[in-house]
């Protein structure tokens, strides 16, 4: 049980996928301008991450059993792309309410490196299936925490007087740097909590 919390908190706080592993920076900078889009995007990411991990994990075992481990990258990205399409179709047909709120973000997720990243890292870290699922959940929640926090930072940033040469993207990146700095404060937290 302890290990579940440890994996979960590590993925959310100390090894946040956006702020310390730099996975999924594009949506982090692109879709974080408004709080509701940030939440919608993150919800879709959590959903797809969990689903993608659940599908790719057994698939990887299959590949390795047949000595096809080198196909990992190509199989994973295709599975994720197909999965996203499938989810979109299924949601549209059967759960229109959910589709209305998440559907728009789904195609953007295919090329989100956080999703492919989490599936590959699950394998590389040698997690069991349950641990891999927890890690994906943590990664998704961490994504959401970072997105929501940063949406708040950006809304404050808009009313600030920024030096001319930093206006636009540079100041956004520096704000991201400070957000990331605040997450450095969590270093060692999980290790000590479960020591």
């Amino acid at each position: 049980m302890k290990i579940f919390f440890s994996i979960l908190l590590t993925a959310i706080l100390t090894n946040n996928y956006i702020l310390s592993k730099f996975l999924g920076i594009c949506p982090f900078l692109g879709v974080s301008k408004k709080l509701n889009t940030a939440v919608g995007m993150s919800a879709a990411v959590i959903f797809v991450m969990m689903l993608a991990s659940a599908v790719t994990y057994p698939l990887n075992t299959f590949l390795e059993n047949h000595d096809l481990g080198y196909l990992q990258t190509i199989v994973f990205i295709l599975v994720i792309a197909a999965l996203v399409q499938l989810v979109e179709i299924v949601l549209k047909k059967y759960i229109p309410a959910l589709y209305a709120s998440l559907g728009i973000y789904l195609p953007l997720i295919t090329t989100n490196c956080a999703v492919l990243g989490v599936t590959i890292l699950n394998i590389d870290s040698g997690y069991s299936f349950a641990h891999a699922m927890i890690n994906s959940l943590g990664a998704g929640l961490g994504f959401m925490v970072a997105m929501v926090m940063f949406a708040g930072v950006r809304s404050r940033l808009e009313s600030c007087q920024v030096p001319k040469f930093l206006q636009g993207l540079p100041i956004t990146l520096i704000a991201a740097s400070l957000t990331s700095l605040s997450f450095l404060g969590f270093t060692g937290l999980v290790e000590n909590m479960f020591a």
Binding site: L19, S20, K21, F22, L23, G24, I25, C26, L29, G30, V31, K33, K34, T37, Y70, L71, Q72, T73, I74, I77, L78, A81, I104, P107, L108, T110, T111, N112, C113, L116, G117, I120, L121, D124, F165, L166, Q167, G168, L169, P170, I171, T172, L173, I174, A176, S177, L178, S180, L181, F183, L184
Partner: protein
């Protein structure tokens, strides 16, 4: 293809005028993640450039065969194939680089520069032009990575390419995550300044223009992210 740019222009635009990292703001994830040392930055730049050139050539050669509707999945398959090849080569010949790049090596598949160029250029242009475009963009990507990593390694580890240079203690924060965002922001500010002096315009998160998902983004435009991006571009 009557008024096509010369090959030379296609080549140089990727390095300066349309630098994928500093002007088009694509491929930010590997830019931030692999610039902790110059060595890994160069490795990443070259690996991505190889994939970019090869996939541009193949996609351009297949552009009349691939049906319009399923082009993105087709592009992804081509790119993933080349990424796998590069992955195998790196693992076999430069295992230390493989260790440094780790998960970011397979993640070249989802590097938006590569899919972006496939969508914006290779799918519409001749094989030779696409190869040259890929080479220019690849070199532009590598150059941007080298600049950022030079700053980060110099201040963060006090060395360049592993040779100790700095007389005072290094500031480790530069090689950690916050330093990555910070240096990228400053380099971007400098690039903006240079572009301004050269008569160009500022780099924006031109997601909609440059990214391969532009169509979807347009749908988002109704009161969402991209509309805001658009507004920002107009304002500045």
């Amino acid at each position: 293809m009557a008024k096509q740019k010369t090959l030379r222009e296609e080549f140089t635009k990727g390095i300066i005028k349309e630098n994928p990292v500093l002007r088009l703001v694509l491929g930010t994830c590997p830019t931030l993640a692999t610039t902790t040392s110059m060595e890994s930055a160069i490795g990443m730049g070259i690996s991505a450039a190889i994939v970019l050139v090869c996939s541009n050539i193949v996609i351009s050669a297949l552009r009349k065969v691939i049906p319009q509707k399923v082009r993105i999945p087709c592009y992804i398959v081509v790119i993933a194939a080349f990424v796998t090849i590069v992955q195998m080569l790196v693992k076999a010949f430069v295992p230390s680089l493989d260790e440094q790049l780790g998960v970011y090596l397979p993640l070249i598949v989802v590097n938006c520069i590569i899919l972006g160029r496939a969508e914006a250029f290779a799918g519409k242009n001749s094989v030779v032009a696409s190869a040259v475009d890929g080479l220019g963009m690849g070199i532009g990507f590598t150059v941007a990575l080298i600049v950022i990593s030079a700053v980060r390694e110099l201040f963060g580890a006090g060395s360049l390419l592993g040779h100790a240079l700095l007389p005072f203690p290094a500031m480790t924060i530069f090689v950690l995550a916050p330093g990555g965002f910070f240096v990228f922001g400053l380099v971007m500010a400098c690039a903006n300044k240079l572009a301004e002096m050269g008569g160009g315009k500022k780099a924006e998160l031109g997601g909609c223009k440059a990214c391969p998902m532009a169509d979807t983004c347009q749908k988002l435009a109704k009161g969402d992210a991209c509309e805001k991006e658009g507004k920002e571009t107009v304002e500045s």
